[in-house]
């Protein structure tokens, strides 16, 4: 009976400094619904960060499907510095076998003086590897829409970025496959900017990079049934710069602007820069 339970029982496996995670599965459903206003605030939905010398193996992040995804619905977003849906950042770390699927939806929402990001994937100063045959996969569906077609909802002085992929500052990846479906529909945009499918490889190395999809369901950028005045639309931008090394890059994209009235606005589709 005279036992003393000391710390010695639990000091057997001391890990100092190292941070390792094996077999990580995340299923996330994040919703803001029927909210009167999101005013001068920030919203972050489904944000996953791997930072600071972490070693992560076999990661599945699922933000789509019946019980998952990021949704803001029937709300007004006013003067909101940042709204992010579905973001992954890998910084100064090592990741093996990553599967990310996200569905990000903003529905029946007026946007005023705000900044919106959907489907953000950033690797900097990190290694991502894929030891199996299937590539590291980043899939995102990003939609800004409204349910009734008769009235356009206002997007005013707001920047929208859908599918933002950045490899920067010494990032290395051996096999990376990116699929995205970006859609904005039934909106009246004034003094705003829309970016869909943005890939930036800056001071980084990529062995094989696919920005495409075999079944055609993904990698589409669409703006339709909308009015834009004093704004800009950029669809499918690839920017490889600052001594980046890309061995193989295959990009296949479909960019649609359909039923859109443009007034004093600028459009760019499939813009590639190698610098």
């Amino acid at each position: 009976m005279k036992k003393t339970i000391l710390l010695s029982l639990v000091v057997t496996s001391l890990v100092t400094g190292a941070n390792t995670v094996n077999n990580l599965t995340l299923q996330q459903k994040n919703e803001i619904t029927t909210t009167s206003t999101i005013d001068s605030s920030e919203v972050h939905q489904g944000i996953n960060l791997i930072l600071g010398a972490s070693d992560v193996d076999n990661v599945t992040i699922k933000q789509d499907g019946t019980n998952n995804g990021n949704l803001i619905e029937n709300s007004d977003i006013i003067g909101t510095e940042i709204v992010i849906q579905g973001g992954v950042q890998i910084s100064n770390s090592s990741v093996n076998e990553l599967q990310l699927t996200s569905e990000n939806r903003i529905k029946n929402v007026e946007l005023l003086n705000s900044e919106v990001y959907q489907g953000v994937f950033i690797i900097d100063d990190s290694n991502t590897t894929d030891t199996n045959a299937d590539q590291t996969e980043v899939k995102s569906i990003n939609i800004i829409e409204q349910s009734t077609a008769d009235t356009a909802i206002d997007i005013n002085a707001t920047e929208i970025r859908q599918s933002v992929i950045q490899l920067t500052t010494g990032a290395k990846t051996d096999n990376l496959e990116i699929q995205h479906l970006n859609k904005i529909t039934e909106f009246s945009v004034e003094d705003g900017a829309v970016y869909q499918g943005i890939l930036n490889v800056d001071d980084s190395e990529v062995d094989t990079l696919y920005v495409s999809d075999e079944d055609g369901a993904y990698n589409k950028n669409t703006v339709n049934n909308s009015i834009m005045e004093g704004g800009s639309i950029l669809q499918s931008s690839i920017d490889i710069s600052n001594q980046a090394i890309v061995q193989t890059l295959r990009s296949k994209s479909t960019n649609n602007i359909d039923g859109v009235i443009l007034i004093s606005s600028e459009i760019s589709q499939s813009e590639t820069t190698i610098n």
Partner: protein, 463 residues
Amino acid sequence: MKKTIAISLIASALLFASNSDVNSLTIDYTNNINNESSVEDSKVHQGKTNIKGSIVENVTLKKSTNGNTISGVDIEGSTVEQARFIITDANASSSTADGISIESDNTITNGIIKDGSTVRQTYTEIKGGSTVQGLTLKTINEIKELDSDASDINKSTVDQGILIVEGESTVVDFKQDATNTLEDTDAYDANLTQNSIIVKGGSTITSFKNGDTGGTSISNTMSNVSATNGAKVTQNTNTFDNAEINGLTSTQSNTITNVDVDQNVITQGNIEITGSEIKDFDVKFTNEIKNLTIIGEGSTEQGILIVTDSNATGSSDADVFEIEATNKLLDTDSVSGSSIVQSKTSIIGSEGGHSIVTDLKLKHTNTIESSTADGAIDNNLSKATISQAETIITNSTVNSLEQDFTNDVKQVEISDSSLSQGYTTITSSDVDDLKISQINTVDNSSIKEDSTVTQGKTNIEGD
């Protein structure tokens, strides 16, 4: 009346000399202190049992009719104890599982508790290297219908259902059912504790069933509480410090209605494990706070698990080391600087320390909402920090952790505040097989004035 409550009222108190040997003992009791009495600067003990330096088998303490009752008595600057059970340096055992059985009903009604009084109902201590085998407690602790004064319990301490095991003691087969009630009672600036379990000092409990004797579960209720000036209000806190627990099941229902909090913390369902070994845990909490007003830097905590420098392990049974919590806040107003925490899990290694957690399952449902269904915003949270389902793993090893979280915020106005739903942080640790499933919802609410809403965030970060 100065100490006129005679020793004869302590009829059931037993005090054994050293090395006594009792094989079978049954005591039925009824203790009453009723109207026209008053207790001032005094001590009152009803149903106090003290086993010291002895060997005891088969003890039954049982209420005859009403148990311990104090009715219509003003308690001022005094200590009142009902059903206090102390085992010191003794060996109390039974060949049958229910051999040592203590049943007590403890009631205080129609009085006032004030000015530094201490009231203890069912206060059990096992210490001094004692060994207890087959202990069953069934208690009903009630303090209700006190004087209509606005501060019926004032600047005093009330403990209901306290268990302390310390001094390298050992308990095997411990079962407890308790109903702890503070009802129709205005408590002001008082420390109120219901169902606190403390195991420390190298003590061990094997087969510990808290709320599972076949009767009702642990039920803790309070109403009309005003907690100010650092007063503490807690329901079901479990503290294991340098302890060993082998097999714990616990089912509790914690409810607080009409509560004001100012400069202090209200806690429901808290498990704190430090420097201990824990095996096979199965805990279920239902925590509810209704009609809550937080003033100043007040806080509420519901469903907290803190593992520090400890080894906590489930077995191959899928049901063990599982914590299931339902946390509700209804109709809440916060003026400024408040903190609201629902379901926070911390697995921590201190500097030079380390925790190991294996086969842990967490299933938490957290709700902040209105009690009415009319859709109106009935919760106003300003300058508040609101957290639902936060997990922190640091300097630790975790093998197989499953988290299933549902977080709801409805009919809430949030201004100049932060709301976090489902936030997991892993630093300087080794984690294998982590599954997080979470549904985070903000519905029918207003978010404004530099607020931040974060839903579903994971941060894996090394040094």
